[in-house]
């Protein structure tokens, strides 16, 4: 039976289990004087039966689906006598066998291949049977068992609630699974990368050209993995972005919180927050097609040499993107400063701007710093703008009019397109990803710590 059909059948069984559990509870209660004699409401008996019927079967089905392809593959490849050693060779062979099994292979076949294809087909066939039988037996058997247990004494509600609570807990742990998943995926590949390229070369090397020689006699692509140009490029673009975002974001937050009338606030705040909702690819397009040519022309008109993909263009647009982020975070902390502090300063005769500069900002500073740190981590991790506007050349330069490349740009260029998983070129992307993850993690930790530590200072 095909998996979707099986799934539909399983859902039907679950419904049936609910119905029979429900009615069985009612009929069991009838002899004892009605529903009141049941330990739980009848619907809980239904859910209890349905959970027994469906939950184990669904879990087994999920596990099966996750692993059956890999197991079949291992079995089929294990049956082939002279299989290639390398991962890519095995992939190729397996793809051939798959095509043959599906009956759409062009070209000649060897008896060995057709035997493997037949093996694959028979394994798939029996796997399907086994799956169907296992799931249905599990569902019906456990459903029947639960049905037999339906008695007025059974505390169905408590059992159901226990299961629900466990499900809620598992969902809450999704965040942990995700973090672990991220760590594992970048860490494993990074370790493999650092086996090929020493850590010191990666961290301190000044030359980045990840093209690897495909053949031993190929000219000119030795592969250099010194990531310093990427780090400096990332820092430069982020610094330009913060140069735009922090003053503008902070000043607009101050104006909106301290000076603006309610009408201005209601008008300007949502308008600026539109900037936060614009997808980054749109900013990238804007930076590459409007801002970068504009900057190039402007630079040329004052006699400066500017590349058409400049760090300045990417940084400026990224700064614009981050403005609402800085401004809304600062807005929150500025509003959290108690009015009494302002009243005190104003009462001593200071002007409004003096109150803001000497009282409100120092009081809100930890929050603002935290917000700025979060904004920096955003700028470092931002991808689309720099991919589209900052360029690919790994220049080690301090001139913002030249094109630079960043960590995220290199991750994208290394991993987009066809790739092989055992070359340092693709593994380098994971090492860069690890750097990115660690640095943003540290920034987030500091930011959250600062914010948390000083948030309730005045309460």
């Amino acid at each position: 039976m095909q998996t979707p059909t099986l799934f539909a059948l399983l859902l039907l069984l679950i419904l049936v289990a609910y119905g029979t559990g429900f009615s069985r509870a009612i009929s069991a209660a009838r002899s004892r004087g009605g529903v009141r004699s049941l330990a739980s409401l009848p619907s809980y008996y239904g859910v209890h039966t349905a959970l027994w019927c469906g939950l184990p079967a669904l879990v087994i089905l999920g596990v099966w689906l996750a692993f059956d392809d890999a197991i079949i593959r291992a079995l089929v490849l294990g049956g082939v006598a002279d299989r290639p050693e390398s991962m890519s060779g095995q992939n190729l062979l397996y793809a051939q066998i798959q095509n043959l099994a599906a009956g759409n292979l062009v070209g000649e076949t060897t008896p060995q291949l057709s035997a493997a294809a037949a093996h694959l087909n028979s394994l798939r066939q029996s796997g399907q049977w086994l799956q169907t039988a296992l799931i249905l037996i599990l569902a019906v058997g456990l459903g029947a068992y639960a049905l037999l247990r339906v008695t007025p004494e059974l505390r169905a509600r408590e059992k159901v609630e226990k299961v629900l609570r466990a499900i809620l807990l598992i969902c809450a742990c999704a965040a942990i699974f995700t973090t672990v998943g991220i760590l594992m995926s970048v860490l494993f590949e990074s370790v493999r990368f650092f086996q090929a390229v020493p850590v010191s070369e990666f961290l301190f090397g000044l030359h980045w050209s990840p093209q690897m020689a495909l053949r031993a006699d190929q000219v000119g692509s030795s592969g250099a993995f010194g990531a310093v140009p990427l780090f400096t490029g990332t820092l430069m673009v982020s610094a330009i972005a913060m140069f735009v975002a922090v003053p503008v974001g902070l000043m607009s937050a101050i104006y909106l919180a301290e000076y603006a009338s309610k009408r201005v606030r209601n008008f300007a705040k949502p308008l600026i927050e539109i900037l936060a909702g614009v997808p980054t690819v749109v900013y990238g397009f804007f930076a590459a097609l409007t801002v970068a040519p504009f900057i190039r022309d402007l630079a040329q008109s004052v006699g400066l040499e500017a590349s058409s993909e400049s760090a300045l263009a990417a940084g400026l647009v990224m700064g614009v993107m981050i403005i609402p982020f800085v401004s809304s975070l600062s807005d929150d902390v500025i509003n959290a400063v108690p009015q009494s502090l302002r009243d005190g300063a104003l009462g001593l005769g200071s002007t409004k701007s003096e109150t803001v500069r000497k009282v409100v900002i120092p009081a809100a500073l930890p929050g603002i710093v935290g917000g700025v740190l979060l904004a920096v981590s955003r700028a470092i991790g931002e991808t689309m703008i720099v991919v589209m506007a900052a360029g690919l050349a790994a220049n080690l330069t301090a001139n913002p009019l030249e094109s630079v490349t960043t960590v995220t740009v290199q991750i994208v260029t290394l991993l987009v397109g066809d790739q092989e998983f055992d070359s340092p070129k693709t593994l380098a992307a994971f090492a860069l990803g690890l750097m990115l993850f660690i640095s943003t993690l540290i920034l987030n930790f500091i930011a959250l710590y600062v914010v948390k530590k000083y948030r309730e200072q005045y309460d």
């Binding site: 609570r165 807990l169 965040a175 300007a268 397009f285 614009v320 991808t383 943003t440 993690l441």
Partner: protein, 428 residues
């Protein structure tokens, strides 16, 4: 201070007052300038996109008198097999030659044929497939012009000379003749909404990307909303205060700030390499975006659970409800509007996301509209990224138009969220 007379103090204050007031004005001016800069950025961004993209919603089309001549087409009946082989391009060429009878010579003829989009043959085929009785008949139809022609015609409305680009003077002459006789005009660009991607700008459309985005978002919503709400309920209503829950909370806060591209790496390493799920599939895209939007949804769901007053819980408990019943029957329905708002905002975020999807292979050149969550497909932001890289001038306006569609969808979603919040949220 004691050394100064009152007079001196007054003088000092008076002299400094002017500069203090000046600073006050300056500070205020800086604030206004910042706001103005922000608003200016919004205005420039939108006018730039709209001015570039508005023209993509019309497309230059040419009116042709085509004859579905069985001899030219090389078929004698209309069925799918013969249609696949039929020579529709020949029919179009005949029509062009009839319109411009004095064109001779191979290169000139080739020039003439290139007035019409190379995809026009497919339009004819579709037309004939739907109306088999047209075989052997003539009819007047509008076909898409080539993108160079389109670019030239559109540039004519901006300047008198127009942007010729790859268009020759001779071709421009034909174009102007057609325009003068009303056989060439700009009409609504239906192709843009009905076609998938194409290397030819005039045949490229966003349908495949839109459907891909839809599938991806459906997967994301189906996974992230239930999981996010369940996680929020656990953390807000059941979790004991211990290290374990602290760890979960720290994790959620951190994930909310992890760069999206890292989620792409996760998707590539785990979903594609480890579980061997298909590349470029909305299923994988949805999974990655689920992980990415989960923190947003959990945080907003928790906030809306928090806003339900404790009196509701106490009342329900007082009536003998279990904690699970309190949550599922009373708290959750009251918190639902807030959760839905959070979910819509999370979905809007997911819809605009590009970088992680590049990692899992959704950048492939895909022409066909996907039919399921495992078909290879692309999404709207990635389509925008791909078009932005294309060298043809005509793709610039299409990219901007695709951005306009994307922004329109996003604005609609956010407006819905705001509306929902205003309409359904209760203040306690």
């Amino acid at each position: 201070m004691t050394d100064l007379t009152q007079q001196q103090v007054r003088e000092r204050i008076a002299t400094r007052l002017a500069s203090r007031h000046r600073k006050e004005k300056l500070f205020r001016g800086l604030g206004i300038a910042s706001i103005a800069f922000g608003i200016l950025a919004v205005v420039v961004l939108f006018t730039d996109i709209i001015s570039k993209g508005a023209s993509a919603f019309v497309q230059t089309q040419i009116q042709l008198q085509v004859n579905y001549d069985p001899a030219e087409l090389g078929i004698d009946k209309v069925d799918s097999e013969s249609l696949a082989w039929a020579n529709f391009d020949g029919v179009i060429r005949n029509a062009l030659r009839e319109r411009f009878p004095d064109v001779s010579g191979r290169s000139e003829k080739r020039e003439l044929y290139s007035l019409v989009s190379s995809g026009a043959g497919f339009d004819l085929r579709e037309r004939l497939e739907n109306n088999p009785q047209l075989l052997g008949q003539s009819e007047t139809i509008w076909v898409n012009a080539d993108d160079d022609v389109d670019t030239y015609v559109k540039s004519l409305s901006k300047s008198k000379e127009g942007f010729l680009g790859r268009t020759s003077e001779q071709k421009a002459g034909w174009i102007n003749a057609l325009r003068d006789s009303g056989e060439m005009e700009k009409r609504f660009n239906k192709t843009f909404f009905t076609n998938g991607d194409s290397r030819e700008p005039e045949q490229a459309g966003i349908r495949a990307a839109l459907v891909g985005s839809l599938f991806t978002l459906l997967v994301t919503l189906a996974l992230s909303f239930p999981i996010g709400v369940a996680a929020a309920i656990y953390l807000e209503e059941f979790a004991p205060k211990n290290r374990w829950t602290d760890l979960i909370e720290v994790n959620i806060n951190n994930l909310a700030a992890v760069p999206s591209i890292v989620f792409g790496l996760l998707g590539l390493a785990i979903f594609i390499n480890f579980f061997e799920l298909p590349r470029s599939a909305p299923l994988v895209g949805g999974l990655v975006l689920t992980l990415m939007t989960l923190p947003t949804i959990i945080i907003s769901s928790r906030a809306s659970l928090k806003s339900v007053p404790p009196s509701i819980r106490e009342a329900a408990m007082g009536m003998g409800a279990s904690r699970m019943q309190v949550v599922l029957h009373h708290v959750l329905p009251l918190a639902m509007p807030g959760m839905l708002t959070g979910a819509i905002i999370g979905m809007a975020q997911a819809l605009g996301e590009t970088a992680p999807l590049l990692m899992i292979g959704m950048v492939a050149f895909i022409v066909d509209v996907p039919h399921g969550v495992t078909d290879p497909s692309t999404v709207l932001p990635v389509q925008i990224f791909l078009w932005a890289d294309s060298p043809e001038r005509a793709f610039v306006e299409r990219t901007s138009a695709a951005i306009m569609v994307l922004l329109a969808v996003l604005i609609t979603m956010n407006t819905c969220a705001v509306w929902l919040r205003k309409k359904l949220e209760r203040r306690w």
